[in-house]
């Protein structure tokens, strides 16, 4: 049974039509957390976040507190918010920026104060036209309200926030590519080392890059304490988390779920969440954390929604998106479409990703649409191996960034789990599901 008694940490205002306005925000306790934070020393605020064990909500799941502690001391430092949400079937940040932009802005100010950073950029996905309007409006209101600009709420701390529009490139969700986009360049992920923007980020200066949802958790953590947050969930996976549920479910949508206490089955079937599969068809497979993640089968439905729990089973919670395939869904078509996505979104820097994604996509297309050969399966696995040697999890890679080793996830999983389906495609020279 789903555990539903956790507080709503980031979705508390969504019942209100005008949740995006300053008036509603203030009426529902908005900016109280900021005032409280400003009354504390910056390191006390950071300590609360550290205690909360707030894992980054962007995809990598790196603890926010630790990321903050890595910020290299410097005369100039930046905070950058990653709102370039583009992982397929991930739509939680979209909800937060459109429906509760002040919560995000308040989180940004709190983080900036804790980090003692005076300039922050909110990089929002360019396609979020309404989200850009709403976040910019919230920033404008925050300035007028005294929560931004010089001497925030009379605290002596000053902050400018700039809302930066992206322009349509999945790869800019990768934090170093995002920084390139923010520097006005092509979104080529930066080669490592340096490994962390906290040492060398925007313009080579120390920079903290945090996800929208991560930021949106901060007001609650400051008001209620890191311990209260850490009391939710279990192990390293504390608090609640937004899960974007899509695909073959009755109620696709974004749900705030207490971590670990609930399972994938709860998320997919509980009436409060997905409400089951249309026509009560069986779940054939599901993708637990965005299309970069290896797939799971029905026997993993009872896995708890926890970062380490999922990691131990060879996949990841990633971006918090769960895609459900039922027995009417073609695994080959699904894997082909995901590969097509990676092929279109590969930045093109590294040979294995640029050429490999296109090659795999074309071979998968043949399998799905006629022209497939039995030997294509071994060929595909070997091409995948040349991008992610050994096809292990977590993956090894021959590329600069993790888009490369994300390509094999679906193809490898689909061939491993549904080899017969592939062979049926070869047999019929087309898709048996058509």
């Amino acid at each position: 049974m789903a555990v539903l008694d956790a507080p709503r940490i980031v979705t508390s205002r969504l019942a209100y039509e005008d949740s995006h306005t300053l008036a509603r925000y203030l009426a529902t306790g908005g900016y109280a957390a900021l005032r409280k934070a400003l009354s504390l020393h910056p390191e006390q605020v950071a300590a609360e976040v550290d205690q909360a064990s707030l894992l980054g909500r962007g995809g990598a799941g790196f603890p926010a507190g630790r990321k903050w502690s890595m910020l290299r001391p410097s005369e100039v430092a930046y905070l950058v918010v990653n709102g370039d949400e583009s992982e397929p079937a991930t739509f939680k940040d979209h909800l937060l920026v459109e429906r509760d932009p002040h919560q995000l802005v308040e989180g940004v100010i709190i983080a900036a104060y804790a980090l003692q950073v005076n300039r922050a950029f909110i990089y929002l996905r360019g396609e979020f036209a309404l989200g850009l309007e709403r976040v910019q409006a919230a920033v404008n209101e925050a300035y007028d309200h005294g929560a931004l600009g010089r001497n925030v709420f009379g605290s002596g701390f000053s902050l400018d926030v700039v809302v930066h529009p992206g322009a349509g490139a999945y790869i800019c969700g990768e934090e170093t590519a995002l920084l390139e986009g923010l520097e006005g360049k092509r979104g080529f992920p930066r080669i490592k080392p340096p490994f962390f923007p906290a040492a060398q980020g925007l313009y080579g200066e120390p920079t903290v890059v945090n996800n929208v949802e991560t930021m949106s958790n901060l007001p609650w953590i400051v008001l209620n304490g890191g311990a209260a947050f850490a009391a939710l969930g279990a192990g390293r996976s504390t608090g609640t988390r937004l899960f974007a549920l899509a695909g073959r479910v009755n109620r696709p949508g974004v749900y705030e779920v207490e971590m670990v206490k609930n399972t994938f089955r709860d998320l997919i079937y509980d009436p409060a969440f997905g409400g089951g599969v249309p026509g009560d068809r069986p779940v054939k497979a599901f993708i637990p954390g965005g299309v970069s993640a290896p797939w799971f089968g029905p026997d993993q439905l009872d896995l708890p929604l926890g970062q380490d729990e999922v990691g131990a089973q060879g996949s990841m919670l990633g971006s918090g998106s769960v895609v459900v395939l039922d027995d009417t869904s073609c695994a080959v078509r699904a894997a082909w479409r995901i590969t097509k996505f990676f092929s279109r979104e590969s930045c093109g820097q590294c040979t294995p990703c640029r050429e490999g994604s296109g090659w795999i996509e074309r071979a998968m297309y043949r399998l799905e649409h006629g022209g497939g050969r039995v030997e294509d399966l071994d060929l595909l696995l070997d091409l995948c191996d040349n991008i992610a040697p050994g096809l292990t999890w977590p993956p090894q890679q021959t590329t600069i960034c993790v888009l490369g080793p994300s390509i094999p996830s679906s193809v490898h999983a689909a061939i491993e789990m549904f080899k017969d389906e592939f062979l049926a495609h070869v047999e019929t020279q087309g898709c048996p599901f058509d």
Partner: protein, 205 residues
């Protein structure tokens, strides 16, 4: 001579001033050019190069990296239909095929009247309303063929113009003023904070 209209040129200069380095304004400036010209025009590229201290080849190369920037003219309304995984499982391919038939225009091209350009998009992060359809980056949430046709009729007749402006993501995004915290204030605050932290550490022994 500025290619951008006077008001847009002013906005462009304000955008440049928001960033520590002018080049950072590249993407917003390209959005502005698209807002004026309907696409990223060669004249606009030259002006962005001048504003950002780069070259036309650099600006064009940068713009071409990002899907939202069109280097060739497009229709007044760019209709996007998503076929990525969530939408695929909800009939996105079928809706896209329907859209092509209904608009009588191949995917990736523009209707003869220059009104609509049809694009197959990647995930637009609205999977709760799959298959996802956008017009000029506004989510119209028409998940069925019938709803799609009705929406197109409304757009064609101009009845949706209040919610779907012509090109330009930033048309309705207006920053209220420039930066408020000058560099010297930042430097002073950082010095004071550093001193305060040192004091606290000392007091804490």
């Amino acid at each position: 001579m500025s290619h951008l209209r006077v008001d847009l040129r002013q906005r462009a200069e304000e955008l440049v001033a928001l960033y520590p380095r002018p080049r950072s304004a590249m993407l917003p400036l390209l959005h502005l050019v698209q807002e004026q010209d309907g696409y990223v025009s060669p004249e606009g590229i030259d002006e962005v190069a001048e504003l950002t201290g780069t070259t036309p080849a650099d600006v064009r190369g940068t713009a071409s990296f990002y899907d939202m920037f069109h280097l060739e003219p497009v229709g007044r309304y760019v209709v996007g239909v998503c076929t990525n995984i969530a939408c695929l499982l909800a009939g996105g391919e079928e809706l896209l095929a329907h859209a092509a038939r209904h608009l009588d225009c191949a995917v990736g091209s523009t209707t003869d009247d220059g009104l609509f350009t049809l694009e197959e998009t990647e995930c637009l992060a609205d999977c709760g309303h799959a298959p996802c359809v956008t017009v000029n980056h506004r989510y119209v949430r028409t998940t069925t063929a019938e709803a799609f046709d009705a929406m197109i009729d409304e757009v064609r007749s101009g009845r949706r113009d209040h919610e779907i402006p012509d090109h330009g993501t930033l048309v309705r995004v207006r920053r209220n003023g420039g930066l408020r915290v000058p560099d010297e204030v930042i430097a002073a605050e950082r010095a004071a904070a550093k001193a305060a932290r040192a004091r606290r550490l000392e007091e804490a022994g």
